[in-house]
Subunit: 279 residues, 2 copies
DNA sequence: TAGTGGTCTAGACCACCGT
DNA sequence: CGGTGGTCTAGACCACTAA
């Protein structure tokens, strides 16, 4: 394999890569030899281009993206450089590498990473045993359009009073109600969402959002607190009023650090716990 | 045994690296050409060797380890292979790379990563603002040798009734008691630990353990629950009895996945919250 | 200026997957 | 079998730090 004409051409997409410290950056003895203020290595620029393609939906969740060799040709860089860009994206969970098959866009549909964001596990879980083998059931109490409260607006980065979709639901594990949460989705994207659709859908909410509302949750930040159950919460979760509950506020982000969901959940931690790893 | 070193010399440590799929491994026509059951790439073996050196204390926390080129020579591999090993160790927090200076063994003494394991932050913390700029104070209530209860023994992987060191303390943020925790340390290593030493030490507990007890905490697992304060807990944390508190059980590991500390903490989350990131 | 980690390239071969 | 990601090497040059 040789191929590849002597030089560049980069007949495809954006060949706007700034030659920044690239060894092969050709004869460029002029261009300031040092003191680069906003220096970004090539592989990060490549990473940016790939991210943009993901944002734009050029490659959709679950799909196969072009091979490393292919991408290297398109971008006019070496395979090693593409590899480093893809490595980082895979580490961030945006892409999924599978030896012998190719690189795929991550999706909430895969069996392996289902409930990736739900850290609640039954107490009986053994040391290594990760997920919950319990039967999970849902119960949707609300699904409606409401005006964003000051707090919801602030979290989602929109104006107070703007229309948002609110979902209120109950999660049952092994028949017992364990999670009660309010979910807020910004903008008109989720206008078509109905309680019926929620009821009929099998699988995680994020998988539904991905498939039918073109919104993929990429990462999230959570704030945890302990609170005492009020009368309504106690009734829904079948605990005594005043019983301690774990309050979990979650802000989820889509591609490009775009806030795409705000969630306020109450967990009954009598037989379950929130599991976390510190590094 | 076989080969190795047509060149090199590798005068130093273990040159027992099994030529596994190495392109240059050559001269090894015997060894099953494929179908390798427990296949481990070279860089992982290197990683193991470096980890072993860390465990053995060849390089201590805060110290500079040999340069990549140096390590490559010692191990008889290319710099790229060493680099990949070090990359992973740095990603896991065992090593810290600093361009232009070298690679250092991570330590709990650095200003940058102090309180790496304490995820409690004041509610007022802005979006990006990470750590707590609050004045922190401690109050040590106990420091004694006790026999491990069944639970403590199970967590620490020792026998029930074995001697462990117990520390009971209160953490005060901005003058208010916010954390009340019991800490259990296994084995005879911490026999010399006294309440006086704890009182006089400035800096994180883990920094003390590292400096004076040759125990570095590398990673930890936490289980979170919401519980109602009992009378004693309420008094110490200055809340009403029955008030919801965040119960945080932490199992910390030293090098080699060795359980080295079990901790049971109660957090008052009225003005603070536990912060977490999901990827 | 010397030394370190950081980036980039080019090419080889291995492990794994589907056909 | 051909194609994909995974590993390994060798060498070049860049960015940063400290002496």
């Amino acid at each position: 394999m040789h191929d590849m004409m002597a030089t560049r051409a980069s007949p495809d997409t954006a060949s706007e890569l700034q030659a920044a410290g690239a060894a092969h950056a050709s004869a460029n003895p002029s261009a300031s030899p040092s003191a680069n203020p906003s220096f970004s290595p090539l592989y990060r620029q490549i990473k940016g281009l790939i991210t943009r393609s993901l944002q734009q939906g050029d490659w959709k969740p679950g799909e196969l993206i072009p091979s490393e060799a292919d991408l290297a040709r398109r971008f006019g860089v070496s395979q090693g450089t593409v590899r480093k860009a893809v490595d980082e994206l895979a580490a961030e969970g945006l892409l999924l590498r599978r030896q012998g098959r190719g690189t795929f866009v991550s999706t909430h549909h895969e069996e392996r990473v289902k409930f990736r964001f739900l850290r609640l596990v039954p107490d009986a879980t053994a040391e290594g045993g990760r997920p919950l083998p319990q039967p999970m059931d849902r119960q949707f109490l609300e699904c409606r359009r409401v005006r964003a409260s000051q707090e919801v607006a602030r979290m989602l980065g929109i104006k107070t009073g703007e229309s948002v979709t609110q979902i209120r639901r109950l999660l049952l594990l092994a028949g017992e109600p364990v999670v009660y949460e309010d979910i807020y989705l910004p903008g008109p994207a989720f206008r078509a969402l109905t309680a019926e659709r929620l009821e009929s859908y099998r699988g995680p909410l994020y998988a539904l959002f991905e498939s039918e509302f073109a919104t993929r949750m990429v990462r999230a930040e959570e704030k945890l607190r302990a609170v005492n159950a009020d009368a309504q919460e106690a009734q829904l979760l079948r605990v005594r009023e005043g019983e301690a509950l774990l309050l979990v506020e979650r802000l989820s982000f889509s591609y490009g650090e775009l806030p795409a969901e705000y969630r306020r959940g109450l967990y009954n931690t009598r037989h379950h716990h929130y599991r976390n790893e510190l590094n």
